[in-house]
Amino acid sequence: MKLTTKNISLEHPARREFLQATAVLTGAFVIGAFVPFAKRVYAASAGGPAAGIRDPNVFLKIGADNTVTLLSKHFEMGQGISTGMATAVAEELDADWSKMRCEFAPNNPALYQNLAFAPYMVTGGSTSMMESFTQMREVGAAARAMLVGAAAAKWNVPAAQISVHKGVVRHKASGRSAMFGELAPDAMRLPVPEKVELKDAKQWQLIGKRAPRLDSVEKTTGKAGFALDIRRPGMLTAMVSRPPQFGGTAVSFDAAAAKKIDGVVEVVQIPQGIAVLAKDTWSAIRGREVLKVIWDMSKAESRSTDAIVAEYRQMSGSKGLPALRRGDAAAGFAKAAKTIDAEFVFPHLAHAPMEPLNCVLELRADGAELWSGSQLQSIDTYVLSKVLGFKPEQIRINTLLGGGSFGRRGNPVGDWVAEVAMIAKAINGRAPVHLVWTREDDIKGGFYRPMALHRVKAGVDSAGRITGWQHQVVTKSIFTGTPFEGGAVKEGVDHSSVEGVVDTPYAISDMAVDLHNAKSPVPVLWWRSVGHSHTAHVMETVMDDLARTAGKDPMAFRLGLLEGKPRDIAVLKLAAQKSGWDRPLRKGRGRGIAYHFSFGTRVAMVAEVTVKDAAYKVERIVAVVDCGVAVNPDVVKAQIEGSIGFALSSVLRNQITLNKGVVEQNNYNDYEPTRIREMPKVEVHIIKSAEAPSGIGEPGVPPLAPAISNALFAATGKRVRALPLTLV
């Protein structure tokens, strides 16, 4: 299948070839102060999938200074997963939290695959804690057992008499004790226990408590290492001039003026556009500014946003693919006492992480080394090996902290990694290349949350029960044409296009959902919470409209549709209680509820808004979350607060629009993220739970917009259905 994006055409491999290309071991690598137990590492992973590898030698380095460093298979983009995984390890290891450290694991999917996306090395889908919680605890428990074993042998006492507490291994009867660092070399020579016993939740010392983030110090002193901070000897900075419309290509270019700029070294053509290489960033920026390029736009997107919406609207009236058929939606709708018929339009959205995309690539005769903040090391390995003609095991990836991502740093076609590879190839690897995108490149660069149009017809009977629900979704598929297609797309229905609708927790017995796959050269991508970023808004505002149509309180109406779902009910009820749902509000204020289930996690939000003429302000958000065991409650809280701050700007104003195919937005002036003055007061309540941990990076996004929309309706009696929400 050929996947064409604005910047690159990549032949996507058959799934099997992709697996072979990515699941190989990338050669021996030495693990720090630990004995390089390469043999055991291979033995543990050779015979098939590495599911649940718990060999401490793969994941931990215990230093002579007693530090315990986790080699994190997950990328840290702010979500706090390094702290989370380290907590799980430290809990079972009975480690001293102040001695825990974190580094990123090398790109070796055989060892560091995401067990939820096996065999890929992937951070995404809010799966990290869910998939690694047991594994990381087992790693900790295995390491503990091995340290105890080493102490027992050394002291010649039974292992059962040895205790471990905060990084100290002790034999009470003989009064002997040792720190981890001293025992580690012996411990790591012991066999990894076949079976380990994990603590009962009641014994947890760290899980469920506040553990300070492992990255706070480096990130408050300017020392944190992002890809943009990488400096290699002789490195050149590259900026790419890309076609002004998606799908365009460069015909020719004139580099004379660019080459006159001090610091500009070279100008080369690559499939994605024209690259200017310079000795520093500023020279690269100026060189690109004066570069002249002739573009061929014959195959490019040339429509404007209005025309695309009109086309989507037309599609919504035709027959789509059956994404869900339950009961008889049409008959149910026909027998309703009262009905609503609503259309929703959602714009393209850019992720706009604070650190623009960038990475450094160094070519050598026998391979290539990449420095990048990336969610998909497996993809990057594959893309680099294809473009450069190396075997996957010749590609070394140094994962660095990401200055935000929200999905953008996880691209199944590896757009920016492909660019840097093409540039390095074009200059024959003469110098390390630092590809840097400016903010303008980022805003205009595509891979947006896809536009979507929904049309819902739903009705209630005289008792206030939903009798029928007919739902049309028009959007462009994210997963089609990617290596993840097999798991996500069934008979043309990309689950991510309809998630949050087809799997709604509400009891709707007669429901039909149709999907219409839109086509466009505008490349799209998962954007924090993916399909839920639009479906939750539709479901939860329609829910409110139906409640009012039926003359019911929106909270009571929802509770009535969740019978037999105690976890969902508990979340809503706590939200009602904490928000003072029944307390009246001053005039000009409105309160709205929204509830959504995504990534295994349940989140309810109650928004309070004030309205003055056409302006509104979100004053307060009360959020209740059930994400199973909250490994680090403070990180969970931070993710909900952050999701609100992140998503609020797309409620207030953000949208990417096209004018004859050209993106109209440029930078933070016309694609402005939330500012501090706009940030509401936020209260987060976490349901205490013994269930397995579920996602937390994304589930805070979906309920925000509908909670605000419902609050605006409560305040004004006006229903705004299109996002961003503007009262006019």
């Binding site: 983009m77 702010g78 979500q79 706090g80 300070p212 983030r213 990255d215 706070s216 110090v217 480096e218 990130k219 408050t220 002193t221 300017g222 020392k223 944190a224 992002f226 943009l228 901070d229 400096r231 900075t237 001090d262 520093d280 960033t281 500023w282 920026i285 706009a352 992480p353 604070m354 650190e355 623009p356 902290l401 990401g402 200055g403 935000g404 991502s405 929200f406 903010r439 403070d634 990180v635 931070a638 607060e641 952050g642 999701s643 609100i644 701050g645 992140f646 609020l648 930078n667 933070y668 002036n669 402005e672 993220p673 939330t674 500012r675 501090i676 003055r677 940030m679 007061k681 936020v682």
Partner: protein, 153 residues
């Protein structure tokens, strides 16, 4: 040759006086704690101090601050009571998420607290207006500034 006084040291470099200070700091002095976010004075990721005043280094030319008289301070050189209180509060409350905007946030917060030792929420909103955090850490930024103010009182 241009002389810049950065973090208490005079640094000589061969750059055009028109180069934005941000790139001189990052690409010439390797002071990478100061970040690029927009290049157009809209996000504050590049905030440094010039004689104690928070400025956007992406939008000021090297020539404007050259000569060694103007004292430039970056996150790497942030020191003193106020800076320590701010950084400490930031760590205590785990304000950071991705961390990319935080050098700039901290530099702006230091200036704010140096001028106003007891800022209200509104003062904070005004003083921090120019610093975007895409991760949305604003709730904790407010809390941390209050906490730093308290610890300085």
């Amino acid at each position: 040759m241009v002389t810049l006084n950065v973090n208490g040291k005079n640094e000589e470099m061969d750059v055009s006086p028109e180069m934005p200070l941000l790139w001189a700091l990052r690409d010439r002095l390797n002071l990478t704690g100061t970040k690029y976010g927009c290049g157009r004075a809209m996000c504050g990721a590049c905030t440094v101090h010039v004689d104690g005043e928070a400025i956007r280094s992406c939008s000021i030319m090297v020539g404007t601050v050259a000569g060694g008289k103007k004292k430039i301070t970056t996150i790497e050189g942030a020191s003193g009571k106020v800076a320590a209180a701010v950084i400490n509060a930031w760590q205590k409350l785990d304000v950071v998420q991705c961390g990319y905007c935080q050098s700039g946030q901290i530099m702006s917060a230091i200036t704010l607290l140096s001028k106003n030792s007891k800022p209200t929420d509104t003062d904070i909103d005004l003083g921090m207006e120019g610093n975007i955090c895409r991760c949305g850490t604003y709730v904790r930024i407010r809390q941390a500034i209050h906490q730093a103010a308290k610890s300085l009182a």
